[in-house]
Amino acid sequence: MAIIVNDTIAAISTAAGQGGIGIIRLSGPAAIDIAEKIFKGNKGARLAGRKSHTLLLGTTYDPADGTDVDEVLVSVMRAPGTYTREDIVEINCHGGVVAMQKILTLVCAAGARAAAPGEFTMRAYLNGRLDLAQAEAVIDIINSQTEAQLKVAVNQLEGGLSQKIGRISDALVAVLAQLEAAVDFSDEDIEVLPVDEISRMLQEAHGELKALGETSSRGRILREGIDTAIVGLPNVGKSSLLNALLREERAIVTAVPGTTRDVIEESISVKGVPLRVKDTAGIRHSVDQVEIIGVELSRKTIKTATLVLCVIDGSLPISQEDLELLREIKSDPAVLVINKADLTEHESVAGLELPMNFKARVRVSALTGGGIEDLEKSIETLFFAGNIDMSDKALITNARHAQLIERATRATQEAFELIEASMPEEVVSTVLKDALSDLGEITGETVSEDILGRIFSQFCIGK
C-alpha cells in the first residue's frame, strides 16, 4: 500500500451488487478538479467554487468520446470539515454497478489513484479525524483486510494472478539484471545480451501484461454480472422465463428492485456466468398513459442492455410487432427465445430470419422447464466463447490492480521504446523499476536485492 501519499484517491464506497444507488468517493487535493473533468452540471453548473457540503445534479460523461455515462448527484465537501480532512467529492449514481465501475475508471483516467483497502480510513486517521479508540480499530481493519487478501491469494483467482505477475516480474528483473550489469560492471569481462534480445524480452513481457490487463473486463463480468434484459410482446412468457431461470438454478445472489419503478431486476448465476436480469413490461402500441410509460422504459432497457433475450410465443404466427421488436434490438449478442415448446410450433417460426446480432435461437418451455438447459448453455458459450477457462486463474477483478497493471504495461512499453531509441541503460532501468514497483504493489514483493544476486549468479564478476 502506498503510505501517506498526498495524491487523490478514489473508490466505490458502496459494496458492489447492493442497493440501487452507488457512491464513488474521491479524497485528496485534486478531488474537485478530477470530478469536474468528467461531470457536466445541469445548466452548466460547475463544481469549482461550490460551497462546501452542497449537492449538484448533472451527468457524468466520458471526456474521451463525450458520451454520457449516468445521471448523478455530486456532493462537494471541502477540507477540513470532512471524513478524511481532505477535499472529498462523492458521486451518487443510480445506474448500478456497471455505471459505478465506469465512473471509477473515468476518475482514475482523469488523475485519481484507485484506493487501497482501508486507505480512506487511514487518511481520516492520519489527518487527525479519528480519536484514540478508533486508532487501533483501524489497524485491525487494515490487517484483517491484508490477511483476507492473503487468504484470497492462496485461493484460486488471485493466487493465479500473483503467480502470473510473479512470472512477468521475473522476466523484467532478468532484463534489469542485464541493464544493471552493463552499467555497474562495464569494466569487467562480461557479455550482456544484445539489444535485440532485450527488446524481445521486453516486448514479450509487455504482451503478457497487456493480455492480463484485458482480463480485467472479463473479471468485471464475473464480479458484477452481465446487464441482461428479457423483452417481448405481452403474454409471450417473459416472467415465466425469468422464474424458470431462477427456479432452475436456485442461485439468486440478490433480488433488489431495479433503479426504475417498472423494471424488476434479479441477479442470477447461469453456469457460473452472473446475469443481472431485467424483466421488462411487454412492448406494444398502446394509448393507455401508464402503459406508455412502461413501454418507454422497456425500450430504454433494450438500448442499454448488454444481452437481450427476446421472447416470442412459438405457438403463434410471427406478428408484425414481433418483427419490429427484433429490429429494435441492437444488443450484440441477442438471443431469440422461442417459448411454449410444449405446444406445437407454428410454421412461420421456423422460417423467421434473424438480424446478425442474434447469435442463438433456443426453444424452451418456461412452463415445463424444457430447453432451459439449452438456453443456459448458449449464454455460457456467448460470453466466454466456450472458454470461460477457470483454470486460467489470472483474472484481474479489482480496480486498483487493474490500474497498477495498466501503469506497469505502459512503463514496460516505454522501456521498450527507450531501448529501441538507444537511450542509455540507466534511463531504461528507471522506467523498468517503476513497472516492477507497480507489480510489487499487487504481490507485496520488492525486487531490488534480487537484481544484484542475479548479476552475481549470471556473470563472472571480479577482476
Binding site: L132, V183, S186, P424, E426, G462
Partner: protein
C-alpha cells in the same frame, strides 16, 4: 600510568580513520588518532586504485564534503580514467591508478599539518565505559586516553588472521600485528560480532614480465580530477596491462582446489561476491575459458605489479604455477604472495545512521569493521563518523545524509537498515535516485552541507554556488535557444544517425535525441563554450534526461515525507498493537529513526508500517509537542 583527555579519539589510521580524524579536527575538536604503527598510515593493502563505478561517486562526495581522499588521489594518481564514457553520462565515474607510497606520504603530511590533531602509536586493548557511555581507551602499553566520542576504524585488524594454503597466523595485514582484545571489549559492551574474509592477489616483479603478450591499458589523455580543488592532473601517466588466464592456468587451479582454504575450511567467513578468488571463479564458472588479469603498477618507485583477477590464498607453490601458466607472466617472479585475511566485524544494523553504536553512546565505528569492503566505502564512513563524533562533543544535531542526497547516504542506510551478509561494496544499482546522484553534480549537491559543517571554506562554497547558478542558467537557455533548419544542421543530424528537422527547434530538443551529445550542438549554442567539461556534463544530463530527472525528483518528494516521520529511539515495539512478530523483532533490533527507514527493514510489511504510523500519530496526540 599516564593519561590524557581528548574530545574525539580515532582508533586506526586507514582510509576511514584518516577521514574521521581530519573531519573532527577540522571541526575544531581536540582529536587523537591512534595507530598500531606510525609507519602504516593510509595504506592500500589491496589494489593500487581508487574510484570506479559507484566508488568514484563516493570519492567525489567525500571531496564535496571537505574530505581528503579526492585531493590525495589526484596527487598520487599515475593514471586517471573516466569509466562508462560510452554509457549515459549519468553513470560516468572516475577511477585512478595510484602510487601507493605517494598516497601514504601525502596523507601523512596532511595529518601532520592539521591543527587540533595528535597522532600516536599504540594498540587499543579496551574501550572504557562510564555510566554505560564511552569514556576512554586503554592501550596495550598501559596508557589511558579519555574522550566522550570514540571512533573505531580498525579495518581487518580485529582478531585478524591471514591464511595462505594451510598456513594460518594472526595478523592484521601481511607482516603486521593484529588487534587483540578490542573485540572482547566490544562483546562485553553488548555488541555482536561476526567474521568476514577478504583476499588479495600476489604481486610480481615488473622486470620479469613479457609485455608483448599483453594489451596496454591507458588512461585518459585529458584526465579529469576527483577533487574540485585540484587545478591540474596533467602529468606522466603509467599504463596498466591486460592479459588472460589460459586453459593451463585453469588446470593448475582445478588440480589444486583441494588445497584452497575455501575447500579446506581454513577460511570460513563470507567473502565479497564482487571480488572472488580465481579458485572460486573457476569453481563457479567452469564453462568460462579465460578470465582477465589486469597487471597494475603499484607506483613509480617500486617494481611491484598487482595482478588484478588472480586473487588467491592457495599455497605459494601453487600461486607460482598459476602465474607461470598465464601468458605474459611465464617468468614472473612473485615479490609478495596472495593471501586471505579473516577478521571480526560488527553487524552494522547495531548502528545509528550517524555510525554511533546503539549499545554504547559515544562509540562510533567506521570502515571495514562495519562489514564493508573498499577504500572509498571506508573513507565515506570515516568522514560521517568523524563529523558526528565532533557534533556530539559540540552538543549539536547529528549529520545524516539520506538516500536521495548522496551515495554516502545509500551506503550507510543500507548498512544500518539492511545489515550485511557479505563484505558490502557500492554499486550504482543500489541507488534509487541514480539520475540525481551523479559524479558531475556531487559538489552542487553537497558543498553547501560541507560549508555549514565548517569543512569547506567560504571561497570554495561561493565558487560552487556560482557554478550551480551558471549551469542552471545555461541549461535554461538551451530551451529558449531556437534554431532554424539548415543544411549544415541536417547533415550533422543524418551523420549522427537521427532524422532531419524541417522547422525551427530548440537546442534542448536536439540534445534530447539519444544520438546527439552536447559536443554536437556546441556550435549552435555558444553559451556552452564558457563551461568546463564537467559543467557541460551537468547541463547535458539535466537537459537530456529532463523528464526522467523530474520523475525522480517527484519520487524523492514522496520519499522525503516518510523520512521526515521520526520514530523515537526508545519506542517499545513489543508493546505495539498490530505488528507482526517478525516486524517486532526486526524493528527492535534496527530501531529505525524514521518511518522511511522502517519500511526498508527486511521482513517489515506495509501493514506493519501502517500500524506503526497509527501508533506514532497516537503518541503525538497524547503528548503534543
Amino acid at each position: 600510568m599516564g593519561k590524557q583527555a581528548y574530545e574525539v579519539i580515532v582508533i586506526g589510521a586507514g582510509h576511514a580513520g584518516c577521514e574521521a580524524a581530519l573531519a573532527s579536527a577540522r571541526m575544531g575538536c581536540l582529536t587523537l588518532l591512534l595507530t598500531i604503527s606510525l609507519d602504516k598510515i593510509a595504506l592500500m593493502p589491496c589494489n593500487p586504485a581508487i574510484g570506479g563505478i559507484g566508488k568514484g561517486q563516493l570519492v567525489r562526495e567525500i571531496d564535496a564534503l571537505g574530505g581528503e581522499m579526492g585531493k590525495n588521489t589526484d596527487f598520487a594518481a599515475i593514471q586517471l580514467k573516466v569509466l562508462n564514457r560510452r554509457k549515459g553520462p549519468a553513470v560516468q565515474a572516475l577511477r585512478a591508478q595510484t602510487d601507493k607510497k605517494v598516497y601514504e606520504d601525502r596523507m601523512k603530511r596532511v595529518l601532520w599539518a592539521q591543527d587540533n590533531l595528535s597522532i600516536r602509536q599504540g594498540s587499543v586493548t579496551e574501550i572504557l565505559l562510564r555510566g554505560g557511555e564511552v569514556d576512554g581507551v586503554r592501550l596495550a602499553c598501559g596508557f589511558t586516553c579519555y574522550s566522550r566520542s570514540i571512533i573505531i576504524a580498525t579495518g581487518t585488524f580485529l582478531q585478524g588472521q591471514i591464511v595462505i594454503g594451510d598456513i594460518i597466523r594472526p595478523a592484521g595485514r601481511m607482516g603486521e600485528l593484529p588487534s587483540l582484545g578490542l573485540s572482547d571489549s566490544l562483546v562485553r559492551a553488548g555488541i555482536n560480532i561476526g567474521r568476514f574474509q577478504s583476499a588479495t592477489p600476489p604481486r610480481v616483479d615488473a622486470r620479469s614480465l613479457d609485455y608483448s603478450k599483453m594489451t596496454p591499458q591507458l588512461g585518459d589523455d585529458e584526465p579529469r580530477p576527483f577533487s574540485h580543488t585540484t587545478q591540474t592532473t596533467q602529468r606522466k601517466q603509467a599504463p596498466c596491462y591486460l592479459t588472460y588466464t589460459s586453459k593451463d592456468t585453469h588446470r593448475v587451479v582445478e588440480e589444486n582446489l583441494h588445497l584452497s582454504p575455501i575447500k579446506t575450511g581454513a577460511v570460513t567467513g563470507h567473502g565479497p561476491r564482487n571480488c572472488p578468488s580465481i579458485d572460486r571463479k573457476i569453481m563457479n564458472f567452469p564453462e568460462k575459458e579465460r578470465h582477465p588479469v589486469f597487471v597494475e603498477p603499484e607506483g613509480w618507485h617500486t617494481t611491484e605489479m598487482y595482478l588484478q583477477g588472480l586473487t588467491t590464498s592457495l599455497p605459494v607453490a601453487v600461486q607460482e604455477k598459476i602465474i607461470r601458466n598465464t601468458p605474459g607472466l611465464e617468468n614472473a617472479r612473485i615479490m609478495r604472495p596472495g593471501y586471505a585475511v579473516a577478521y571480526d566485524f560488527i553487524y552494522p544494523d547495531q548502528l545509528y545512521p550517524t555510525l554511533e553504536t546503539k549499545a554504547v553512546p559515544g562509540l562510533y565505528t567506521a570502515g571495514q569493521i562495519n562489514g564493508t569492503s573498499g577504500y572509498e566505502e571506508a573513507a565515506a564512513q570515516g568522514l560521517i563518523a568523524g563529523i558526528n563524533a565532533a557534533l556530539r562533543v559540540q552538543g549539536k544535531e547529528p549529520f545524516v545524509l539520506d538516500r536521495s542526497q548522496a551515495y554516502i547516504g545509500v551506503l550507510i542506510d543500507d548498512l544500518v537498515t539492511k545489515g550485511v551478509d557479505e563484505p558490502y561494496r557500492m554499486f550504482t544499482s543500489r541507488a534509487e535516485y541514480r539520475l540525481l546522484l551523479r559524479s558531475d553534480n556531487a559538489d552542487i549537491r553537497l558543498s553547501g552541507l560541507g560549508f555549514e559543517l565548517g569543512l569547506i571554506d567560504g571561497e570554495r562554497h561561493r565558487r560552487i554556488k556560482e557554478k550551480e547558478r551558471l549551469v542552471a542558467e545555461v541549461a535554461g537557455s538551451l530551451e529558449s535557444t531556437i534554431i532554424q533548419p539548415t543544411d549544415a544542421l541536417n547533415d550533422l543530424l543524418v551523420g549522427a544517425g537521427t532524422s532531419v528537422v524541417n522547422r525551427s527547434i530548440s537546442v534542448a530538443e536536439l540534445l534530447r535525441r539519444p544520438q546527439i551529445a552536447v559536443a554536437d550542438i556546441e556550435w549552435l549554442a555558444p553559451q556552452l563554450k564558457q563551461l568546463t567539461e564537467e559543467e557541460r556534463l551537468v547541463v547535458e544530463v539535466d537537459v537530456k534526461y529532463a523528464g526522467y530527472v523530474r520523475r525522480q525528483l517527484s519520487q524523492v518528494k514522496q520519499f522525503k515525507r516518510l523520512e521526515a516521520r521520526h520514530i523515537p529511539a526508545e519506542l517499545d515495539y513489543t508493546q505495539l498493537h498490530g505488528l507482526s512478530i517478525q516486524a517486532r523483532e526486526k524493528l527492535t533490533q534496527v530501531r529505525p529513526r524514521s518511518l522511511g527507514q522502517a519500511s526498508r527493514v527486511s521482513g517489515v510489511t506495509p501493514a506493519d508500517i501502517n500500524a506503526l504510523l497509527v501508533h506514532l500519530e497516537q503518541s503525538k496526540a497524547r503528548s503534543p509537542v
